[in-house]
Structures are given as C-alpha cells and as structure tokens.
Symmetry: C2
Subunit: 255 residues, 2 copies
C-alpha cells in the first residue's frame, strides 16, 4: 500500500521522533511505499491566508471560494499542491503528533486548514449537486489513523476518564476532518505517560505500533455513520429518531 | 470589567469582522475596559518551537520544561509575554473565530500553544504540590466565551445533529483548554449560515451578541466538574461511579 506519514513534533530527538523512525522502518519491512511530511522540518506555513490563493488583497477574501478557485485553476502554492498530491497518492494517511490542549499542534491544524481546500477537502459535490462528505468525498476509499502522545496516564482518556474519552476528544479530527473528507478512520494509537517513558514503556509502544502498522489494511475502522447512508434527515440534519433512540453525545454518530 | 477579545479571522471585511466591530462597540457602551488581539492583523506566529523559549538548538527540546523555564526567567518572546499580560489583566476572555474543521483556525490554536505555557496555562501546582487544573489554576476566577461562525445550518450542531453537538465539538477548547487552565466557560455563541447571511440574519446575530455581552458577568457558566471537587478518583482519574451512573460521553463531565 501507499502510506503517507504526517509528523508534527518540533523535536526529532523525542519519543515521538523515535517512534516515527521505528514506524517508517516497520512500514518498509512490510513492503509498503512511503511518503512523509515532517511539518516542523519542512518549515510548514501554518496560517491560511490570501497568499495561499494568489488572492488580490484589495478584494474581500472569502476563504472557501478563493481556495476552490485556486485549486481548480492550479494557483495554489506549491507546498499545498505537493500535499494534495501525497493525499491523493495515499491509501493510508497517518498523522502523528503530541496532543497539545486536547487537539493537534497548530502546525498540523494549519496543514489541514491549508491543504483540505474547498473542492478537495470539502464542498465536493456529485453530478446531481449532492454534497459528498462524512464517508464520501474526494478522499473516500482511504484510511486515516492518528498516533498521539500525552504526558498523562491513559486512564484519563478512558470511557469515564478525567480528560474525556480519547475518540470523543479527537472527534474534530477523526470525524470532523478525516471522515468528513471521506476517509475511513482506524482507532487511534495513544502513547501515554510520554514524558516519563522507561525503556520498557518504549518497547511496549513499539510493539503496539508494529501491530497497528501490520493491520493497517485489515483493521476495522470506527463505524462512523455515512451521511448518504440514510441515517440523517435530509431536511433537519438530525439523526433519525429510531437510531440510537433517545441518546445524545458524539457516540451516536457511530453505527 | 476587563474584557479581552481575541479575533482569528483573516478578513476584517467579513461577517466575523463586522460582528467583532459591533461587539467592541457594545462593550464600550456597557462601560467595560477592552483589550484586543487581532491575530491575523498582528501577524501572530502560530507555530510553537524552540525560538519561543530562547532554546539552544543543540539541546533536545522538551516543550513543557523549556516553556516553563522561559516563563519563570522572563525569557519568553515579547509577543507571548504581552498575551500573558492581557490574560492576567482580563476578567473575561472572548475568542472569536470561524469554525474550520470543527475547531479553531491554526492561528488561534497557535496562540494557545504558545501563550498557555507550562507554569501558567498548565503544570501549575499549589504549595502542597497538587496540580491545579479543570477549574483551578492560574486563570481561575476568569470567564471565557467562544463566538464561532459556521457555514452550515445551526440544526447540524444541535443535540442529535449531523456535525455533533456544538459544546461537544468544542470540548477540546472549552473543557480541554479554558476550563483546564482554570476559567469558567460561558455557553458559546454560534453564528450559523455565515456564508449566506441576509441583513435580517445579521441584525439577529447582533441582537444575540448584544444580549450575550450584556450578561457576561451574570450568565451561568457551563457546569464543568472541578477536578478538586472530589468527583474524580485521585488514583484512577475516573468519574466516581455514583456520578452520572452508568453513563459515558463528554457530557458526564458536567455536573
């Protein structure tokens, strides 16, 4: 398979950096083709602005419209076009980052903001004008997986843990971004206690990473509902009453 | 009161820009003192790296430790120190941004990543060494409120809406950041259908904004549980079994 690894940690001499190196090595052993974006090493521009779209500053900037125009006319900046190429090439997209403030570091958020432009990441429509998202869209058929590290203990991210259950904390990325853009999302790999990992902890993390990478093609994705699967009202955008009946919470968006 | 408004939209000639102008005008009418950070206008640096901490690149960077050392020695960059001053000065912190990929634009995430350093935003301890977070910490006593715009209809962010319930989508910011750092969080103000707002929609948004700003001091915050309130096991970090009994989901962290 084609595996695209996006790495967003400022320090290669970190636990995350070591796991990235191990991961790429394991993928090669498994016979996969690999491309990588090491965002800090690339000096990735994080802030989406008119410069990304060759936008005339005298005109009012509408980010969606401007990004789609630039995408369709080939006027996006070269760095963004290269990432779109990698995403299109990939069968699997792995994003690896330390969990800062319950979300991705700004450099990775800016990779999403800038690369997932209208007409590619969102605002994609079929010939009948139906919006393709949440399971459909330009990135459908691809798999995404998050690898993230926290200083805290893993228990804090369990079902009733203090920090919130991990999949629900990651909802804006897993559901709101990767699933929105059409990808299937594999369960995340959490590396806990990252700032005090022992040699044994490290070996355990590598073993888990190896297992996850070995099963990239076969692991069961998180069963997020497809928008076009009929589970949501087309007019009111609400989950139909007979599904997850009487329940609320982000978990209702899994079938 | 002292109100600090953080604005993260690339285009002042936008619906968000107009609402920001209205908001600041209303706050002045109400007699509040105001400070503002217009992150795009400031050219805010979004990416946290060793330069923020006068870090020696020859040494391995540990972000937490390096940021705390720089905070305590006064070696943080001037832009970050100015933001810490504003946060410390403020009674209320308003963050306003378009909801991009179910979260804040990278420039605002980078404001959090860079300003909420260890020893200030997290890793704050009392004299007995108890970690102060989730309702306690350096920013305790302050209020936070999010104003965010979406292109979608509001129904998509309601309890069983397609996009996920708004407070749960905003959990990493509201709970994972502002509450973590000690602040009380007021319910968010959602401006929906932002890319097709009519003059009537705009007047309705201004009216709602006015009401929210009028009640900044008196509105009931989201009742997030305090970590030190005894609701969580000190050893296992789990919500105690008798609270929200048998339930899961991010909502269990409200009392």
């Amino acid at each position: 398979m084609n595996v695209f690894w996006v790495f967003a940690h400022p320090e290669p001499r970190s636990l995350n950096g070591a796991l990235r190196d191990e991961g790429l090595h394991i993928l090669k052993e498994l016979g996969h083709d690999i491309r990588e974006s090491d965002l800090y090493a690339m000096g990735w521009k994080a802030v989406a602005d008119g410069d990304d779209y060759a936008h005339d500053p005298a005109e009012r900037l509408r980010v969606g419209r401007a990004s789609q125009d630039a995408y369709e006319s080939g006027a996006l900046t070269e760095d963004v076009r290269a990432e779109i190429d990698k995403l299109t090439w990939a069968d699997v997209v792995i994003t690896q980052f330390p969990l800062w403030w319950a979300s991705a570091p700004a450099i990775l958020k800016g990779w999403i903001d800038r690369v997932f432009v209208q007409g590619f990441g969102y605002g994609v429509k079929d010939e009948a004008g139906v919006v393709l998202r949440y399971g459909d869209g330009a990135l459908a058929g691809r798999r995404a997986m998050i690898i993230t590290s926290v200083g805290a203990r893993a228990a804090g991210y369990s079902q009733r843990g203090l920090h919130g259950e991990l999949n629900e904390v990651l909802y804006p990325l897993q559901r709101g971004t990767f699933s929105y853009a059409g990808m299937s999302v594999l369960p995340p790999l959490l590396v806990a206690g990252a700032d005090r990992a022992t040699a044994d902890d490290y070996e355990a993390a590598v073993a888990e990473l190896r297992e996850r990478l070995r099963t990239l093609a076969t692991a069961e994705p998180i069963p997020y509902r497809r928008e076009l699967g009929g589970d949501y009202g087309e007019d009111d955008l609400l989950l139909r009453p007979h599904l997850a009946r009487g329940r609320t919470g982000l978990d209702i968006h899994r079938s």
